[in-house]
Symmetry: C2
Subunit: 278 residues, 2 copies
Amino acid sequence: MHQGQQFERSVFFVSDGTAITAETLGHSLLAQFPNVKFNVRIIPYISSEEAALKVVEEINACYHEEGELPLVFDTLVDANVRDVINTANAVNLDVFEGMISKLEQELKTAPTKLIGQTHAVTNTEHYKARIDAVHFALDNDDGARTRHYDKADIILIGVSRSGKTPTAIYLSLQFGIRVANYPLTEEDLDDNRLPKVLRDHKKKLFGLMIDPDRLVAIRTERKAGSRYASYSQCQMELRAIEGIFISEGIPFLNVTEMSIEEISTRILQITGLNRRVS
Amino acid sequence: MHQGQQFERSVFFVSDGTAITAETLGHSLLAQFPNVKFNVRIIPYISSEEAALKVVEEINACYHEEGELPLVFDTLVDANVRDVINTANAVNLDVFEGMISKLEQELKTAPTKLIGQTHAVTNTEHYKARIDAVHFALDNDDGARTRHYDKADIILIGVSRSGKTPTAIYLSLQFGIRVANYPLTEEDLDDNRLPKVLRDHKKKLFGLMIDPDRLVAIRTERKAGSRYASYSQCQMELRAIEGIFISEGIPFLNVTEMSIEEISTRILQITGLNRRVS
């Protein structure tokens, strides 16, 4: 056991499509081994045995150089292409192996074996919903416009740089949800109540909170030494906004330690908001 | 075999984290069975045996109602929680089973068994790169500003509504790449050459092409009956821009049939651009 000590290992993600699935699953598994430094190569669009042979050469060259078997995660639908990849000097982590046949058995229907289906535009309705939602998020970013709030599924509110924009973007791109976001400024906070435009859509509001230390750090990168980035200013704004969230009964989340993905899925869970895509 | 005929099946994605991995892999696999209508329930943040028991009840109720075993994809790190889920009346598609132990054996190191690691902010550098890139994409969307083009990794160009913005957003959010985008307007196209601001950054340019029929459809949704959405206008703009791409030697991609994910991964492949995150 390499206890505690850091070591490296090469990893290949091989796919007949975008490789997003192989990458997502691979990263999930590798995250369980934080003391290993994984050197990742992503190889998408391998759809022929010929292309697979070249990948095998690359994997073998890597093994030859490093003296340790590279890890190979693949999501290849075509068994012939998969068989070629499996000839490499590597630890094969075949994602689809077993699962597809288990599903075939259970569903009593044959898989299409069509490659690149995962991220293909198979459902144009869903696809359009996502694109429309992205444009909606951009058009309604940062309080730029408020006249479309009746069409929003949710309106994120928070102080400047609390994570509203990236969260809005993720929710729209991934789930097709129409998200507006509105920054509560010092003026709004001085009033100690919601601006009218938000009061009219109170049921759609969701608040983002963040710890003052983190907010100071983020704002300092933007405007170092400014009042905007000072601890006292950040703390004041955050106390005021938390007061509004609580007194107005607006659901909110402290996002300090969270990634965009976590914030977004938590928001869905808390609000019960449904995805427009699945 | 249910050949050709459409039938339905319930699916559960269960996770101790965001459920994004379970969902991504599950959708990949289910995409192989397009004649089945899958009714999906996503259940994130199941981190205790108690919470898992409630999920088991929900799965069993579903089985009871439908008379067919639901499919359950799970990415649970804790074996005890997983064991509880596995008691449900369901077809268990345990994503991590086997893979984690295979990795443990090969890496000769124990998994942390910490839950929710996949989409946690484990690498703050990478995380910051993504957030910064999203803000960069928004600030440099649609030719809004051009003075930061020296800091861009890539500048997407194309006619209005050819998919530049969603692609820029995806590349930034997913891969931390700094993407600007610039729409070539009729005036630019009349000149039959690149505007100066783009000529100064020619090596960063990447073109998006789209078929006229598709462009007409997209523009019609926005401004039905307008000259902007007419076939002749779309065709004229596309011919002109393709001419510029070719004469200027700008790499480009026809994105008509592609999803944002496909466009984005193809662009990385064609340009050899490196992700800032992995």
